[in-house]
Symmetry: D2
Subunit: 322 residues, 4 copies
């Protein structure tokens, strides 16, 4: 990350009056604002389908040009354990009838591709979402891990807000910010209305640009564009009962809050405190092109990350149906 600004304020101070949804869905809840996505919301999403066009939103894993990851994480490594080479060398297993096959293994960060954060993925003050003890994360998460989110799945009406296009850019600048007011302005310009309980999908162009940039330049003084913290923005997300925020950046918000210097306050305000699920590193460029073309920015959104028990997150390939 960029040379860390020295904040004069801690996360706990910054968010001391921030709204909390702990307990709202019971003491055992581990899916938070996904509870908003009841069958009525599913049907509302289904009702948004018009033409039957579909899109998938995951970036590639094991791309020849490399995969974008948060600094410190490493790219996936894939190893073949069986393929035609083995059989060509007479080293494959002999199946009756002589079927041959390929097989492979991957080592990857659970948050090293498009993924859902577990609600307990980030915290401050020794407590996770819903008040769970942060000590439960040690070794493997036993509270508010990604499994309950994966078990439930995420289905509802999605709305795309194309901030990059709204600002007339291919990609927002490093550290460029926007607010919920900007989202509303962009929505209006698109002719779209963000409704309560919509799955909110925001395009900055950032991840798409990874594949066109030099890696060194992409990572240098790492600073993503994105939403920026304000109490009003947090309240707006809460009032709108947004269940899930999806972006094409690695961390869903500007890396450092430019006012207070705090890293990733929205992870805490939205996810830890309000239970809003975060989906990161989504590939939104083809979907955005299509929306710009047909002027339909709403759709059925379905996604379910891998059901990794104890995972701090898990990769996902969301499906959008227009």
């Amino acid at each position: 990350m960029a040379d860390d600004p020295k904040p004069t304020i801690s996360m706990a101070e910054l968010l001391k009056d921030s709204p909390m949804n702990w307990g709202k869905w019971g003491d055992d809840d581990e899916v938070g604002a996904l509870n908003y996505l009841d069958p009525a919301q599913v049907l509302r999403g289904v009702a948004a389908v018009k033409s039957g066009k579909t899109f998938t939103l995951q970036i590639p894993v094991n791309h020849p040009g490399g995969d974008p990851v948060w600094p410190g994480r490493k790219e996936a490594q894939k190893f073949n354990v069986m393929d035609r080479g083995h059989f060509a060398c007479n080293k494959g297993p002999h199946f009756p009838g002589a079927l041959e096959y390929s097989d492979d293994v991957v080592l990857m960060y659970l948050q090293g591709s498009t993924q859902y954060d577990a609600l307990g993925h980030v915290w401050y003050g020794d407590q996770l979402w819903n008040g769970y003890d942060a000590a439960t994360t040690a070794g493997s998460m036993t509270k508010a891990d990604v499994f309950p989110i994966a078990q439930r799945g995420v289905v509802g009406r999605g709305v795309l807000i194309d901030m990059a296009r709204h600002r007339g850019k291919d990609v927002l600048d490093k550290g460029e910010t926007f607010t919920h007011e900007d989202l509303l302005a962009a929505a209006e310009a698109q002719g779209t209305r963000i409704e309560k309980r919509d799955i909110l999908i925001i395009r900055t162009g950032w991840i798409g640009s990874f594949y066109r940039r030099e890696k060194e330049e992409f990572y240098k003084d790492f600073l993503e564009p994105g939403l920026t913290y304000s109490p009003e923005l947090v309240n707006w997300f809460n009032d709108m009962e947004i269940p899930n925020l999806v972006t094409d950046t690695i961390a869903n918000e500007v890396t450092f809050d430019p006012v207070h210097g705090v890293a990733l306050p929205l992870h805490c305000a939205l996810m830890r405190n309000l239970g809003i699920t975060l989906t990161e590193i989504a590939e939104l460029d083809p979907l955005a092109d299509d929306c710009a073309a047909d002027r339909q920015y709403t759709f059925l959104y379905t996604a379910a990350p891998l059901k990794v028990v104890g995972g701090s997150g898990a990769p996902v390939n969301p499906v959008v149906i227009k």
Copy 2:
């Protein structure tokens, strides 16, 4: 696997008159019968939604009781690289504002959980689906890998055939077989009609039983229940234009064809020759219970495996919307 019967016939002989769809969708096709799932089919799937109930079909990864895998594969290993333990010991990174987080890595077989096979995953006679050279699988697949399937996604009308329930069992026996005629009989008993281009989902109870059985017993003389090869069955799948077969077994068919002793002939007849995608190790018990209760066996099925470049398969968590 069980002591291999000695087949008197090779796969090539067995399937020498079996129908082929190579070239049907162009010389560059890598998604095969998924081409049947055009926007009209997507809309037909959407039209099957009634109540807004949803189900996810992946089994857990990293389950405390172990994960079911094909013999020779190994269970996933998950490693935490950051969690509260690091911060408690003052070994975590210092983010401005003092945010803390957990992070983890997984090593897993790409076919070690619920997954889509790449169309080129199995072959005989040195050619994969659509005639691609089997040599392209060496190192990492460069033709008919799972990426194009993941990129496209799978959306359509799904129909569940509950063979276990139809036969009055919790789980079919080891090596127990059934045919397309049995599927039709079960569908009729369910009050369901299998339509052309339906995503066909068959429950045997097998994977669900893994979590109740001793591991040793589950794997001993490994022999799954499932569909069994006949030319008529292959023709039926082809005529019905089935795009995708989903089961709750590790290999979608009885392990050895009991007539010829050949291992996994349907992988070759359906996938390699006809381009039908195979989805394995699905968790179907909760969905089946619900279908039995509300008598609705059809639904919108959406799935997209991880976009692993070169993968012989990739894990997936399908979403069903009733």
Copy 3:
């Protein structure tokens, strides 16, 4: 492990009067009793060489029959990333001149084969060897890790005590114990004298038996044979200035102290408190056969584990020169 006996005493109580070498070699020491192995000891080891016969003491990694590991650890997984299969399929790199090669990767527990423990590998009471804070182990060890041991290497006179042969057995029984008095009796019967600062190598036959036993039987109620705790034994090791204890068991001592029920007290008394390095899972059967044949039980011992920065241990293939 076997059903854990309920100890009525904690490690801290058990060892409250046990001798300590903390600070003896300076506040920054991370190699403990290896300091005894000064050049004079190296030359004493060299002087033990008679015939020029050599032995290596590591067990295989990736053995077709499996590798013995402490319960909970997993066996190594090796993956080829390049071999003749790639070139046969025209998927290998094209080197000028057309050289071909194989290349591979391993995932293994650092203590999943013959290995040296870092001095800080086990502890009680929040302090490691030499008083380092146990918190320094979080994430990766930053004090008393295996690196300084690997950097220094271990060279001196080794002496083999063949307890199994002394007791007329191929392998000691599960949970069978012996004391330093038994070592001295065995040495005398062998015609060997254990000298001060000898590297002490004890054979129980245990690891060799792994390759002859059913795995299930080997691991059932896991209970290794080995040395058993007493204050006298601890004093003897300290007085003898033993720098390094090497055994053919996974944990160098009987799994549970049969008197107090405490698990692995010698790890704490000898390693944490006295700084004696522990080498585990050595293959001693061929060496022992040779010693029984030529009656030479002393030799030059050289070993250096892999220099893994932060490792809690590291694999090693010691070399013995007789």
Copy 4:
């Protein structure tokens, strides 16, 4: 690697008259010129010991500044699976007596640190050392893998030739070459004699420079300094019965033969054809400083790589005793 020169000659042509030791040590041999290291050579090595000073020759694994690897390989990844953080969070296992411990796992290229090549690691013309079929490398090596070398171990007299110091440099230049004549001249200048069956250790300063250079500069146009091919050099190695060549470079020879453009011909001429074992990426700077100081360039060399079954190579931490 650097932009590959286009060779006008294949390895097979280049080496068509090169001497071969295939069959010299039997049809089943897998350790080649290590056979020269009989007990007499071991004793000759022992006789070189003077003062009892010791050195270890492995570079660090998991160094905070990164590990030098051949382009395309990746650095080791180490993951903790248990440490004080788990216990601090009450997530560690409860051992009777309350012992605590750390434990970890490593993923590494078997040739990603100081290592021995298996004799079958490189080849041309479909045959490995001793004539084994190159097809045996597929999946995991079943002939001339590193295991027999690791099982045997390497013990003999070592001689250090410090080419960098001889040329008055800290490190040889990229692509800088030298011949056996240069070795002899350097030996003479050192006052050392290279004897028959000596383990030949050559310092270029290359690996030591990795830790002082920018990574990008180290890898750019990858071209190591080293020995360069000539028929005379190959004959000299053969006549001298050199069992083992050890260097502080990743590939033991200049990357591309500057005369013919062929990559790594000495791997083929010395290892594949003559059975000379290659040890790469050794840390020689501290040893060389000491040799320069005390003018003793010969010593006992002991080394045994990890016993990885099927390995194309294996990491090693050699021990030198002066």
